[in-house]
Symmetry: D2
Subunit: 141 residues, 4 copies
């Protein structure tokens, strides 16, 4: 399996479709099945006590599944999240980036399903797990 | 059933524990079972095309379940989200606030479960549904 | 809103497509939005201690969402479950039937989303909640 | 990591606590982190067309997460499922057993979280994914 574009192309595409999150995410790996995205953790992602907010972790899982899907089908900005489930399992390490490691489990004509584990950089056990379903728009004939 | 504090007390508590989201949420109803929280939609919640970002909807569902739980057990800042599932069903209406209408389905000693429907203000059909589980810390004896 | 067939037609259809579960389920209400299905609890659904098995509750939620969807689109045996999430919240009452009360939250061209609360007959608080997504096959033109 | 009992002890325990499912499941691997359980597919698990029923797949995921948890904490029959989410991704192969391959992601004092992929024997791509949360009863002091 191989991605249909490079991580650099993907980053440029993400910054066009999600300009609000520019500078927050870094696509580190992307081979068509496995995808790794880094959340560059900053002040805006933190909660008192140094933990990382739930919406920041949701956002990381969501972007990672989007990247995993686009890596195979190409640039389809109308691809939208339809379902997700998350388990928050451990407190992230204060001051560390988060790494989302994803595996594309299914790519059908109309749906993709991605499994994601989120780690604090340097920590062996995941802080969260997620699965995301994306709806892929029908091809114009 | 009755809430153990007023919506005003809850708002003051939220702004203490989540100072980053000050001014984003408004607790509109809170009776111990049913809870309504408004997301005051601003520029930071939007995506190109005027839609509201997934992390903003996740954040609204999360705060609403937190409020629904605190309304019964009182101020327990160490209560944490352990699990959630969301379905994104319709595009939110551009320029409208979101209203999360929640029902506390279970309040056990160690877990609460809340069901949430999210509406664009003035729209009859929900834009999203969510369920959130919170872990409640053990009482100190 | 109105259902496109009667509960009796639906029962006959269910017994054709799922002959294995004949006599287990009873469609009690079905108006196109709200659906109530009864699980006639028997020996095969029980676990030691008189509680009802998880697969029996999953099966009830699944059939109820199927009925809620068919009530609007008509008989489409190829409609399949793609996603579900369940919370098990209370122990069912021994020797009582289960009632699943469902609301069809979304009926799109390719997906339906149904929210379900499951009650032991006569009990005020739900024993479980579920949401189910069904994929609807494309119409043949 | 190591399991606190052998697969044979686990099988004997399962047949005591779930006598209804005797002969349906086979614990194939169990090392304290990774667990493999086989569903010996028979007539009762099938739907018309040779596919395997949703409740059968739910039941397999549920038993597998239970085994994965007991493998570490020992025999705790009061451990109960509190939450699950499932994605059904492909049609199982007719006439083949199902294999559930699980990883225990978290074992806390009161909750375990297990990730599961379900395969038709001999098929490279998973037919379903699931995650299950179990509540572990407090230790008697």
């Amino acid at each position: 399996m191989q991605a249909v574009m490079s991580p650099e192309d993907m980053m440029a595409f993400l910054e066009t479709v999600f300009p609000q999150v520019r500078g927050e995410f870094l696509v580190e790996e992307m081979d068509g099945v496995n995808t790794v995205v880094r959340l560059l953790v900053g002040e805006k992602h933190l909660r008192p006590g140094g933990t990382i907010s739930g919406p920041s972790m949701f956002g990381l899982a969501d972007v990672t599944a989007y990247v995993a899907t686009m890596a195979r089908i190409g640039k389809e900005p109308l691809t939208v999240t339809t379902n997700c489930s998350l388990d928050f399992m451990r407190k992230p390490v204060s001051g560390k980036d988060l790494l989302a490691k994803a595996r594309l489990l299914k790519l059908g004509r109309s749906l993709s399903v991605t499994d994601i584990l989120i780690y604090s950089e340097g920590m062996a056990e995941p802080v969260a797990r997620a699965n995301m379903t994306y709806a892929i728009p029908p091809k114009r004939g």
